[in-house]
Each structure stands twice: as C-alpha cells, then as structure tokens.
C-alpha cells in the first residue's frame, strides 16, 4: 500500500465504455475525528482513495493567548504557557522564562540551569511517549498505547511531586523557579527510569520489527529536505530528513553544552524515521537527566535581585524592605526595559520561539509564540498531495500536532 504510486484514472470515454464512473469527492475529516488527535478539520478532495488536495482548518482551540498576555503581567503569562503544548508544559515554561530573562539581561543561577534542563528533558520524554503511543493506537496497536501512557502517567506523578500539579505546572518563574526540586526526586526518578526502560523494551518487542506496523510507516509521509527547510520545519521532522539541526546543539542554552549526548538523525524522512528518532531521543533524554543529577551543584534556584524575583517568605514576614519589594512586584508587575527579543528553545516538536516586545511597563506590549508543529501542519498538504488517504493517519501522528499550541 505504501509504495504504490498514484494511478492515473480512466478518461471519461473509457469510463463510459466500461460502465464505471468515478468522481471527485469532498470529505470533511474532523473536527472531532478518532484518527486526528487534537481538534482539527481536514477538507479533503479525493479521487478514489487518492488525496488530490488537502486543506487543514485549524483554530478550534483558539483562545487568544497573545491577546491575553498583553493584558497580564509577565508573571501571569506562565499559566497561559502551560496550556500551549499540554504534553510538555515545562518546556513552554522554560522557553518563556528564558525569553523574558534575555530581555532583562539577567543570568540565572547554576543550580536553576540544571533543574530547568532536568524538567525540560523530563517533559520531552513525556511528549515523545504521547506521540509514540498515539501513533501506535491509531494504527491499531492498542497495547503499545497502554504501555506508553503508563510510563507517561509515572512521569506525571513525578511532575506532581515537583510542582504540585500534573499538567498545569506553572513551576518556572522569571529569574528562577518557584521551588527547588524535592529531596526525593533522585530516588523517584530512578524508579520511573526503571519502569520506563522496561516499557520501552516491551514497546520495541511489540512493534519494532512488526511488519504490519512497519508497512504502514515505512516510505509514507515523505517530504524532501529542500521543501522541509523552505517550510521552516524543525525538530524530529527535520532531523528525520537527515538535517543535523537541533537548537540544543546549534545554540546551546542552559547546560546542554556540558552534557554528553548524541543527536539521532534519519536518512529517508519518512514516518518510520520520525518514530525511531523519537524513541532514540527518549534514551538520550534519560541519559541527560542522569548526567544533570550527577553534576548538579548546590545553591539557590532564584537569583538574588528583588526587582525581579519575590523575596524569600521569612524576610517578607519580618522586614519592611522585603515587604516593600514584595508589594511593588505584585502590584505593579515586573518592570522590563523597552526592547524586543526573539528567544528560541528546542521544544519536543522543534524550535519553540517566543518573540516579546516590551514598552517598559509592567505588561508586555506583544508576546508572540512560534509553535513548532504549526510549520509542520502547514507543510501537510505538500506531503499528502497525491498520496493515499490511509497514509494521512500515520503522517499526521508523527507530525504530532498539539491543538493548544498551534491554535494558541
């Protein structure tokens, strides 16, 4: 099914002669379709089973993230960023905080850098697991879905221990974090890692060499490298095309330049490459977290500047200066000098960029987010034109569209 080229259909005279009549069909797939995780509608123009044209219709989850940020202080935007990519909210938190810190021109503490790396990688694992599990589910491998989601559940429990919530974390603050990692983190992580290793092994056993699964994935959803770059695709999608680009490697932020890790790249740029890259990146993330826990120094997780971060609670209770700094920060919001920055981090699906314009007041003048999967979905018509409709399902899965992020 996968390698079959598009068959040229019969002319009208031939159809009349045989008595067979074909016509183009317009099919609405979505907005709530079991095979499209996330709320999105495709309007397909079909000729038989071949997709002649495709029009993705996004915006069903649009809630005005950018407009809301213009009416909130810089700190208030953290709960909004949690809801961008709801599979990896820590990465959004970190990306937004790094953007504001770049605009402020401040340097965070060493321990904070390590903690932010740990939580980013933790949620990269969770995002990749969600993608792998959903892909398998939609191609019929329900057991793989259960194993993947079981591991993700354990990561959520760990997340809850870190910050008190499973999904809506709002853990990172400008200039630091709300709190240090809990003391039990390293032990708990060892437990999660052991179960994760076991589940990844099982997943590999179930579908790693299974022809039923591989036939659906191999040689489907191919986009050539030039077009992918022209569309602005990044992340596992671009690495599957063989382009050695990762923001963590090209412009290292936090502590990624101190860690020992490799960047898996594919060769063909098909769905199976993207699937394998995500599996390999999970292993890399596990090793990165282990290295971070080993290297992590002691120390504070917030910078010592009361114009940016809230003072410690015991000083607020007991000294008038800390109380004043506390009140000024809460009531007026964080004052950011005028200017504009574009800050970029590696999200789970590619480059996650925040473009922030400040006019010097306590509220941002403009916050724009560059969601990684937005450019991948924009390239979807190019990938799918002339292909079969059943290849749309695995392709859309490995693109890993996240509704909250693309619709903002």
């Amino acid at each position: 099914m996968s390698t079959e080229t598009v068959r040229e259909y019969l002319t009208e005279e031939e159809e009349d002669r045989i008595g067979l009549h074909t016509q183009e069909m317009i099919l609405n797939m979505g907005p709530s379709h079991p095979a499209t995780h996330g709320t999105v509608k495709f309007t397909l123009r079909l000729e038989g089973e071949t997709i002649r044209d495709l029009d993705p219709d996004i915006g069903y989850l649009h809630r005005g993230f950018e407009k809301m940020c213009e009416n909130a202080t810089y700190t208030h935007a953290f709960p909004y960023t949690d809801r961008l990519n709801y599979c990896s909210p820590f990465i959004n938190n970190v990306g937004y905080a790094l953007a504001v810190e770049k605009l402020l021109g401040i340097e965070i503490t060493e321990r904070c850098k390590y903690v932010r790396t740990i939580i980013s990688e933790l949620h990269r694992i969770s995002d990749h697991l969600t993608c792998l599990a959903a892909t398998s589910l939609e191609l019929g491998a329900f057991t793989v879905f259960l194993y993947g989601v079981q591991s993700r559940e354990e990561i959520y429990v760990l997340t809850e221990e870190i910050c008190g919530a499973r999904l809506t974390v709002s853990y990172v603050r400008i200039g630091g974090l709300t709190d240090d990692l809990p003391e039990s983190f390293a032990d708990h992580w060892k437990l999660v890692k052991r179960r994760l290793d076991k589940n990844l092994y099982d997943i590999d056993k179930l579908i790693g060499r299974n022809r039923i699964f591989i036939d659906r994935m191999q040689n489907t959803g191919i986009l050539d490298t030039e077009t992918a770059i022209s569309y602005g695709c990044t992340g596992p999608f671009l690495r599957a095309c063989g382009v050695e680009y990762d923001v963590r490697d090209a412009a290292p932020y936090l502590v990624y330049d101190r860690l020992d890790w490799t960047m898996p790249t594919g060769t063909r740029g098909d769905n199976w490459d993207r699937f394998l890259i995500r599996l390999a990146e999970i292993e890399q993330s596990i090793s990165m977290i282990d290295q971070c826990i080993e290297q992590m120094p002691e120390g504070p997780v917030r910078i010592d500047d009361w114009r940016v971060v809230l003072p410690p609670k015991d000083e607020v209770y007991n000294s008038i200066e800390a109380m004043m700094a506390h009140f000024k920060l809460i009531m007026e919001g964080l004052k950011v000098p005028p200017g504009e920055v574009y800050s970029y981090t590696e999200g789970a699906n590619g480059e996650l960029g925040f473009f922030i314009v400040s006019d010097g007041s306590g509220k941002p003048s403009r916050v724009h987010v560059r969601p990684p999967c937005y450019h991948l979905v924009a390239a979807l018509p190019e990938i799918m034109r002339g292909k079969l409709i059943q290849d749309l399902v695995p392709t859309f899965d490995t693109i890993n569209m996240i509704g909250g992020e693309i619709d903002r």
Binding site: R211, T262, W306, Y317, N318
Partner: protein
C-alpha cells in the same frame, strides 16, 4: 549538481535502518514476540500485584504529594480570627480573578484591616498557586490536600470566608521581627 549546504554537527549520529529479514517478512515471528510480551504481563498481573499500576479506587487512594495544590484554606491567628489583612495581594496576583475581597476596618487593634468578605470562585480558579506566593502574611494556603469537589450548582462552588477558615488552622509563622544584616547588604547592592 551542486551539493546543497547543510549544517554539520559533531553530535549527529545517523542510525541505520535494518531491512526486514525473510523471517520477519512472514509476519509470524513478530506476532509471536508480541504475544510473549503481553502474556508475560498477563501472568505477572494475575499472580502478583507488584507490576500493576492501577489502583482500586476509591478503596485505595494514591496519597497526594506534599506540594500538591488543592483547595484553598485561610489560616487563623491565635484567637481564631483570619490572619488575612485584606491587602489585596492575592486578588491582584490571581491570573483568573477568582478572589473577591471586601476589606473592613478594625479600629481597636494594631492591625487595621480585616476581610469582611473573602470568596474564592473555584470554577474560575486554575490552581496555579500564585495567591499563595503573593501572600505576605501566610494567610492563604493551598496545602489542604483536598481535591476540589464537584457541585450541583455554581453557587456552591464559591467558598466564602467561613468555609475557608474552617479548613484552616493556626500557623507558626511569626511576623514583625528584624532581619538586619542580610537586608541591609541587599539594599546596599541594589538601591
């Protein structure tokens, strides 16, 4: 043809893709391997609950972690009155505007204000914990460990001051001391 320019990285490691062997092309080995995995899980789950991840809710409940952000509570002074001084920090810091405070005067004491009304609309609340972070006198906390309960009408989701205080307790946080040296050093640095 000109070779297109591509980024080069030392970290990059292209992985090899193995073509399927004849045995794998026959479908059966993969099916057999898969059945082995699922059967192992089945046996493990029947003869021992060590690997089971599900819980028999509600008889068995997972304990919430220490930092769990649950339903709010208002802490009390030694005489049982609320510690809140109606400074409006929490309602300002709240991203979803779910806290309503009406301040009242208390002339006979050194503390001038107290909340006449203190209501939290749990339907609006997003449990981000920013009110707890913003409170300068340890009055509001989210450490009750109570998961927000569903209600039959919207009015029941608004908890008032009495409800919040009933869940609260006396706190040992002290206020009004001096924190001389560190604060002075800090001020010298920034002001």
């Amino acid at each position: 043809m000109k070779q297109p320019l591509r980024p080069k990285s030392e970290r990059a490691k292209p992985f090899e893709r193995r073509e399927m062997t004849f045995a794998e092309k026959l479908f059966y080995p993969a099916i057999w391997e898969g059945l082995k995995v699922t059967t192992k899980h089945l046996v493990e789950n029947i003869f021992g609950r060590k690997h089971t991840v599900t819980l028999e809710y509600p008889e068995v409940q997972r304990p919430y972690p220490e930092r769990f952000r649950g339903q709010h509570r208002l802490m009390q002074r030694d005489d049982g009155s609320p510690r809140c001084v109606a400074c409006m920090c929490c309602s300002t810091a709240c991203p979803s505007n779910c806290i309503t405070i009406v301040a009242g005067e208390r002339p006979e004491e050194t503390i001038e204000k107290f909340p006449m009304r203190f209501e939290i609309d749990l339907l609006k609340c997003i449990y981000c914990g920013m009110c707890v972070e913003a409170c300068p006198c340890d009055a509001i906390r989210m450490d009750s460990g109570v998961h927000p309960k569903p209600t039959y009408n919207r009015q029941a989701a608004i908890i008032d001051k009495e409800g919040l205080l009933a869940a609260g307790a006396k706190t040992i946080a002290t206020q009004g001391g001096t924190f001389g040296s560190r604060v002075a050093g800090h001020l010298k640095k920034h002001i």
